[in-house]
């Protein structure tokens, strides 16, 4: 278990020997300033978006920041179609994350553990969906569905399953990637030891392998969720009337016109995510979850 940073010896060592302090910690200060700059880069556009969503002035078709006469009026103007789209997006992204784990974990185990010829090739195939431009994936799936429908009479386009397959396709490589990254650093002798001590394959997986790869699984599932949730180019082709994902709704909502209620609903998503993350932290501890997962 030497790879789990929260194990007992590590904790003891950490408590007993604080890092040595030598003069003013310039390196540490530089590190903090540097990270702050990264955060400013990442978060500044969102500050503008949330700020502009509070603009309470007249209808203006353009983003205005800082807001004039701050108010929440645009939050009341969010059309119901955006909420419906949000519901579909959450369902789809959750499903894609789950499905990506079901497919991705065994795939990663296979890539790292199985001594197969052409492993590099197989892992490239698994990673391939990441290299196909999303717009091509969208059109390719749509054409595939029409072809399949012509042959069998079963049309997938505009159905949840059809959309789901497209999202699953792009989400799975993330789980494979994160789990592979962890497995490559994990000593397979631990598994062999467990097996030689008479543990079954399943219990070896559950008790030895799974705890180690859990952070990768959580991280991968999170990426899968985020990729699916943010996708525009695939969903454009696979959605149907009255059945639209949130980013597509926004994408087209902004094509002809711009309405601040878009900023308001984007801000709501931000707050909702923060709330979910804080809830997770309160219940299980998000940092612990992503950190070790081995409890």
């Amino acid at each position: 278990m030497s790879y789990s940073p929260t194990n007992a010896t590590d904790l003891v060592q950490r408590r007993n020997s604080p890092p040595p302090r030598m003069g003013f910690p310039w390196g540490r200060l530089f590190h903090y300033v540097y990270c702050s700059l990264s955060y400013i880069f990442l978060l500044a556009p969102m500050v503008v978006v949330v700020g502009a969503s509070l603009h309470g002035g007249e209808f203006y078709t353009a983003i205005r920041f800082p807001p004039v006469e701050p108010s929440l009026r645009w939050y009341g103007e969010i059309p119901s179609s955006q909420f419906e789209a949000l519901g579909l997006s959450f369902l789809l992204a959750g499903g894609a994350a789950l499905g990506a784990c079901v497919i991705g974990i065994p795939a990663a185990l296979g890539i790292v553990r199985a001594r197969l010829p052409g492993r590099t090739f197989i892992s490239s195939v698994f990673r391939a969906p990441l290299q196909i431009p999303s717009i091509v994936t969208g059109i390719a799936f749509l054409q595939l569905y029409y072809l399949f429908g012509d042959a069998t009479g079963l049309y997938f386009q505009g159905t949840f399953l059809g959309l789901y397959l497209g999202h699953l396709f792009v989400a799975t490589p993330y789980v494979i990637g994160t789990v592979t990254a962890i497995l490559q650093r994990f000593d397979s002798r631990l598994e062999e030891a467990a097996l030689s001590l008479g543990a079954s394959r399943w219990s070896t997986f559950r008790r030895v392998t799974l705890p180690v790869i859990m952070p990768g699984v959580y991280a991968g599932a999170l990426y899968a969720f985020m990729v699916s949730f943010g996708d525009v180019p695939i969903s454009i082709f696979l959605t149907a009337p009255g059945f639209v994902t949130y980013p597509v709704e926004l994408f087209y909502g902004m094509e002809n016109d711009f309405n601040p209620s878009i900023l308001a609903s984007a801000s709501l998503v931000i707050f909702f995510c923060l709330l979910v993350l804080l809830g997770m932290q309160k219940l299980v501890g998000l940092d612990n979850l992503l950190r070790s997962g081995s409890r």
């Binding site: 007249e58 078709t61 059109i139 386009q157 087209y252």
Partner: protein
């Protein structure tokens, strides 16, 4: 305005209920019919949802939308191998060849069921299509900045070639709604035409544009942020920029001796695979209703095709300033003849010329 829109929706619903009761004898004309419309999203769709949809629902039907630009919807149509996922579609003039020359996507409209089409010019209606609206493509410029820089109001595109405006101009990307119309207009202004667009590319490169816009909303934001002093947009965007607080107005560019101003228009067509033809013709008729045309004009800044509605635009001072409403002047606006244009080649030449 959006508050009004809500109120309008409620009123629409109330009217719908009223109609439902009053017309109960003929109610059910469209019982169980689901009409699917391919059109733009956002407030464009909202206009339809608030005016036309309640009437249709009162007659027993239901309306759904496939949102996207006409280009994107054509791509969906082609990907679907002609089995259109919609009944009625908004088409751009630039898609002339796709829909009316080589394509096999549409069925005829029934003009006898579209009495409102009688208010249209002859060229605006025939057995395959009916005009829906048009836009006036203009130079929208910041009056304050131009005065500050000591520049006269622009009258031609070449007036924008100026050191003081370098990097301060926004031009529609060829993939945007007005992209092809303006590109064609540039070609005419620079001495070319539909079959020779190279002069347009030379002109565009001389203009030193900051960017090529693909969403009108960006242009308005950039007028406000001071990034852009002049933009080639249709008058509707300029109106919205003005409403947003920018100090802008339109100039209808002089193209050549024959033409001043640029006109782009849209069509409504019924898809070949549609089985709801009665409902589709009914929808087109409602679209041409003067009240709805007027609403599109005031909300989206497009020009009605309905003459009665055009005449009433004079009452709106901002629109009267931004648009050309005099019928004689309207006739001199340039309309690109897309049957002569090879759009694929336009795109290819554009891509090569503008890449950085």
């Amino acid at each position: 305005m959006t508050i009004k829109r809500r109120k309008a929706a409620t009123q629409g619903a109330l009217i719908a209920i009223g109609l439902g009761v009053a017309a109960s004898a003929s109610a059910g004309e469209f019982d169980g019919v689901t009409l699917t419309i391919a059109t733009w999203g956002g407030t464009w769709k909202s206009n339809i949802e608030e005016v036309i949809v309640p009437k249709f629902e009162a007659m027993g039907g239901k309306v759904e939308f496939v949102t996207g630009s006409p280009q994107a919807n054509l791509a969906k149509l082609i990907a679907a191998r002609g089995r259109a996922p919609f009944d009625v579609m908004e088409v751009l003039d630039a898609q002339e060849k796709d829909f009316f020359t080589t394509g096999d996507f549409i069925q005829n409209v029934d003009l006898s069921k579209i009495p409102n089409a009688e208010g249209l010019d002859d060229w605006q209606r025939n057995e395959s299509r009916v005009a829906s609206w048009n836009t006036q493509e203009t130079i929208c410029y910041d009056k304050g900045k131009f005065a500050e820089l000591g520049l006269e109001p622009p009258t031609t595109y070449t007036d924008l070639i100026n050191e003081k405006l370098a990097g301060r101009i926004s031009i529609p990307d060829i993939t945007s709604g007005g992209g092809l119309a303006n590109f064609g207009a540039f070609a005419y202004a620079a001495g070319g035409d539909e079959t020779n667009v190279q002069p347009a590319l030379d002109l565009i490169n001389k203009l030193d544009a900051l960017k090529f816009w693909s969403r009108g909303g960006e242009v308005i934001t950039q007028f406000q942020s001071g990034d852009v002093y002049a933009a080639i947009v249709h008058a509707g965007w300029c109106t919205r920029a003005k409403n947003a607080g920018a100090n802008v107005t339109t100039a209808h560019p002089k193209i050549n001796d024959e033409h001043t101003g640029v006109n782009k228009y849209g069509w409504l067509v019924i898809m070949k695979s549609s089985e709801n033809t009665d409902a589709a013709n009914w929808y087109i008729n409602e679209y041409l209703d003067p009240e709805f045309q007027l609403r599109l004009a005031t909300k989206a800044g497009v020009v009605p095709v309905n003459k009665e509605a055009i005449a009433r635009l004079e009452e709106d001072p901002v629109l009267a300033e931004m648009l050309v409403l005099d019928p004689a002047k309207l006739d001199t606006q340039l309309r690109i003849d897309y049957s002569k244009a090879d759009i694929a080649s336009w795109n290819d030449q554009w891509n090569r010329a503008v890449t950085k």
